[in-house]
């Protein structure tokens, strides 16, 4: 609520001081009575699925630390917090945000979407951009190697040579497979799974030694799901040729993209993005870099 007048002022820098003030006061009052009236003045006006409501999709289930307790409406978790911050900067207060869920396939299928934007660690790739739109990145993910206890005990280390010899598994819907083939080139072909749960299940059954995830996910799965999993190394995002960057996914040609990008740019500029990252993804430091 607090930030909306400020943002509006930025947009209307041709108006004079008095009108600015008057507008701010008017808006502050009118917003108490009618949200739609307030949004009549923002970038996102008339561009959302439903007037006055921003519909955001994420996965079901949504995982720690991206969304806490599979409840994005709590605003807790990195992506939940990002979503509310972006919404807020676009002129939607907490009550004007509606959550929905969408699978990967639903998100990339052609035709109208039932969300305004969708965030669930979608990596931005140029192939995907042919079908959908992505916002500018809100997170650059380091890719990390998670191994089960058996592999860690038998001496797997953060060197490419050591990693090559492991039996690998990855989530087939992620860019991790490409990453694995390009950076590690394992000796035996990897096994592929539908989601994180199945990957960790295969690690528990000792059918695979290692899996590649973005670093926050790897840390969570290793500590909570596997309990005794070890994140033995990472490929830092800034040192990778094709860094894994997460973007908000939108329908191809969605006019909202400009507003979303604007909000994200502002968040990067004033440090809000870094603040959210520090709050939810702080543990990601201290993992050895793979040489």
């Amino acid at each position: 609520m607090k930030k909306q007048p400020i943002q509006l002022i930025k947009h209307s820098n041709t108006t004079n001081q008095t009108t600015r003030l008057a507008l701010a006061i008017t808006l502050a009052f009118s917003s108490l009575f009618a949200a739609s009236h307030l949004q009549a003045e923002t970038c996102a006006t008339g561009k959302t699925l439903k007037d006055g409501v921003l519909t955001i999709a994420t996965g079901n289930p949504a995982y720690f630390p991206w969304v806490m307790d599979n409840d994005p409406a709590s605003g807790k978790g990195f992506e939940a917090a990002i979503a509310y911050e972006v919404a807020s900067r676009m002129g939607f207060d907490k009550d004007a945000v509606a959550w929905t869920s969408a699978s990967f396939d639903q998100s990339i299928q052609p035709g109208a979407k039932d969300f305004d934007f969708n965030l669930q660690q979608f990596s931005i790739t140029k192939e995907r951009e042919k079908v959908v739109d992505f916002s500018t990145p809100y997170y650059s993910a380091a890719m990390a190697v998670l191994v089960n206890k058996a592999a860690a005990d038998s001496g797997a280390t953060a060197s490419i040579d050591s990693l090559k010899k492991l039996k690998w598994g990855v989530d087939a819907n992620t860019t991790a497979l490409q990453m694995l083939q390009e950076n590690i080139e394992p000796d035996s072909s990897p096994l592929l799974y539908d989601d994180n749960t199945n990957v960790t299940e295969a690690m528990k059954a000792n059918q695979i030694d290692a899996a590649l995830f973005d670093l926050p996910t790897a840390l969570y799965l290793g500590a909570v799901v596997l309990e005794d999993g070890v994140v033995i190394g990472q490929f830092p995002a800034d040192r990778t040729a094709t860094p894994d960057q997460f973007g908000l996914l939108m329908e191809d040609g969605n006019p909202l993209k400009a507003c979303v990008d604007e909000a994200l740019a502002a968040m990067a500029e004033d440090g809000a993005l870094a603040e959210i990252e520090a709050q939810w993804l702080q543990e990601t430091t201290g993992v050895p870099v793979i040489q």
Partner: protein, 273 residues
């Protein structure tokens, strides 16, 4: 009398021609509607780009074909086990003496459980669960336990089909065998089973078609077979065309097999009537 029957034939021929004409006209109308109207829909360009992208189809098809070899391999090594276990379970269920009662109960439980549980659940449960008990490599391989899940499920279906075949053989055949002094085992082996198995060939052909498709369920626990390979392409290219390619490959196998099963069934009907 002669004139009457001519008249009747002519009438029937007219009716038949009329039927053909209606069928042809309605089919044509549907095809025209599809070809003409579907591309006019607002989303057609996007749908075509997502599902029917020729370039993507060509570039991914070779790797799909290669992945299909794994489907065939899983199919081939599961098949003999399904046939043997299916037959044994069917024989368990056919036991009539009191001594064999536990065997019959086992057969009933087996078929009830494995036909009742969704295949995918069996695949997860056995494919992850049994290796999770702590088997060493390579004995915890998803190929082994995933195949076992398929074998258990399909042998339950096949057992029921075979049992149906056995029940369809008239009791007089058993009586004839016994009256000659043949043992129960010999009566089953030489008289009942050969006839029963021949009778259930068409039904089992349909099971083969279903199995060929369900092999893809193994992809859930790791193996990169056709469907998974298509999924990987889909994910990287954000395009569903590879799935269409996979469907084409499946169809190339299942359609002839289904036609053949129908042909066998029709032949059997002719023979029996």
């Amino acid at each position: 009398m002669q004139a009457r029957s001519d008249e009747r034939q002519q009438y029937e021929r007219r009716q038949q021609r009329k039927g053909f004409a209606i069928a042809a006209a309605s089919s044509l109308a549907v095809v025209v509607a599809l070809i003409y109207f579907v591309p006019k829909t607002p989303g057609w360009q996007k749908v075509r780009a997502s599902f029917f992208n020729g370039e993507i189809l060509l570039s991914t098809f070779p790797s799909l074909l290669k992945a299909f070899l794994l489907d065939i391999a899983i199919f081939m090594w599961s098949l003999p086990a399904i046939a043997i276990i299916g037959l044994l379970i069917a024989l368990c269920r056919d036991q009539r003496s009191a001594v064999m009662f536990p065997l019959r109960i086992f057969g009933v439980l087996y078929t009830d459980i494995f036909r009742g549980v969704p295949v995918i659940l069996t695949v997860f449960l056995i494919g992850f669960g049994i290796p999770g008990l702590g088997l060493p490599r390579p004995w915890n391989s998803p190929y082994i336990w995933g195949s076992l899940a398929l074998i258990l499920t399909y042998s339950a279906y096949v057992a029921e089909i075979i049992r149906g075949g056995i029940n369809s053989i008239h009791d007089s055949q058993r009586a004839a065998g016994k009256s000659l002094g043949l043992s129960n085992t010999d009566t089953m082996r030489f008289i009942v089973l050969p006839q029963a198995l021949r009778r259930v060939v068409p039904a089992n052909m349909n099971m083969l078609v279903a199995l060929q498709k369900d092999v893809a369920l193994l992809s859930f626990i790791g193996p990169v077979e056709l469907l998974r390979q298509a999924g990987v392409h889909k994910s990287l290219l954000a395009n569903f065309t590879p799935y269409v390619g996979a469907a084409l490959i499946f169809l190339a196998v299942t359609v002839p097999a289904t036609r053949y099963a129908d042909y066998l069934l029709a032949r059997q009907h002719r023979e029996r009537s």
